[in-house]
Symmetry: C2
Subunit: 194 residues, 2 copies
């Protein structure tokens, strides 16, 4: 009942995600969002709630449509393959779109006034979730003899993600995919022998 929507909600959300990806939470204004989505302000409010809610919905979409490479990688057979895939996924995603390089989850997580604290906490949680998944996977690898018994799964997970995050920063600074790939290869030299 009632008048039907004249725009695709998922399409608009994806466009908004792109703006947040490039400019972060505070750096994005409703004028930017209207320009990117082609949807007027009140329609954005009625579809997504306020700016913070819209950002959180965009983060959700990012997690399920773009930044899910960690959750996919843990299905691989060996810990080394998992680590390799995570770094490869990071390189690929960080350089996939020339107009929004780096990682959505990191670009917005670092600086900002108190107004953006909620968004920042959501991004920190998202990051921590990925790390926990990776740690559990490496813990399993130790039980399976895939990693040495004295390996620290928690440190290895944090290490791999540190490299991934560092590459996200470098991607934002304009690093090419080839350069990031070389860095990832170098990073994997630190991987413990089974």
């Amino acid at each position: 009942m009632g008048r039907p929507r004249t725009f695709e909600v998922e399409e608009a959300l994806d466009a908004a995600l792109g703006v947040f990806w490039r400019q972060g939470f505070e750096g994005t204004s409703y004028a930017d969002l209207v320009a990117a989505t082609g949807v007027e302000r009140p329609a954005l409010y009625s579809a997504f709630g306020n700016k913070e809610a819209l950002f959180l919905k965009a983060l959700d979409r990012y997690g399920s449509h773009y930044g899910n490479y960690v959750w996919e990688a843990v299905n691989l057979e060996t810990a080394r393959a998992v680590a390799t895939r995570v770094l490869k996924g990071a390189v690929e995603l960080n350089t996939r779109f020339a107009d929004r390089t780096g990682c959505f989850g990191i670009n917005g997580a670092l600086a900002g006034s108190d107004d953006s604290e909620a968004s920042r906490q959501a991004l920190i949680k998202w990051r921590a979730d990925g790390e926990a998944v990776l740690r559990d996977r490496f813990e399993r690898a130790k039980n399976e003899g895939d990693l040495p018994a004295d390996a620290d799964a928690s440190v290895l997970a944090a290490y791999i993600l540190a490299v991934a995050h560092g590459m996200a920063v470098q991607a934002k600074a304009g690093f090419s995919r080839e350069r990031l790939t070389a860095i990832a290869r170098q990073a994997l030299c630190a991987w413990p022998q089974a």
Copy 2:
């Protein structure tokens, strides 16, 4: 001649640096700067110019008073010692102040509207300068036989800084100094044998 200043310029600059460090360029308002420095707006303008100029001066001060560990590290004797010191310096700086964790040069570099593009470019340049210094040092190490002849100095420099940047992100997410130290130790396992 004329009425003398009633505040210490360097002191005020350091206070402003602290705010930019925590909140980034866009996330910092003049209300924040006045509160932190104890200096009224017009006095900040007359002493430092506008917000962008003040930010650039703060970046200068950061580079000379805080983020100079790369430039110090390259004086050490071996490439491995240099890499170790860079990572140790990053850990130390990223966790030195509980109220402004992470790296000034990275917190502000990632997201933002077009208004902050100049500040972002300055930070990107600062990062690239550090990388160049590190690369040159590793290049020298190759000539001195300190690094294998087939080592890629450029990739090694980028790798070490990727880890440093990643740790800065993690520091912002609340990682302890001990945890970051463990990550740095893991990262150095990738270092080539002489």
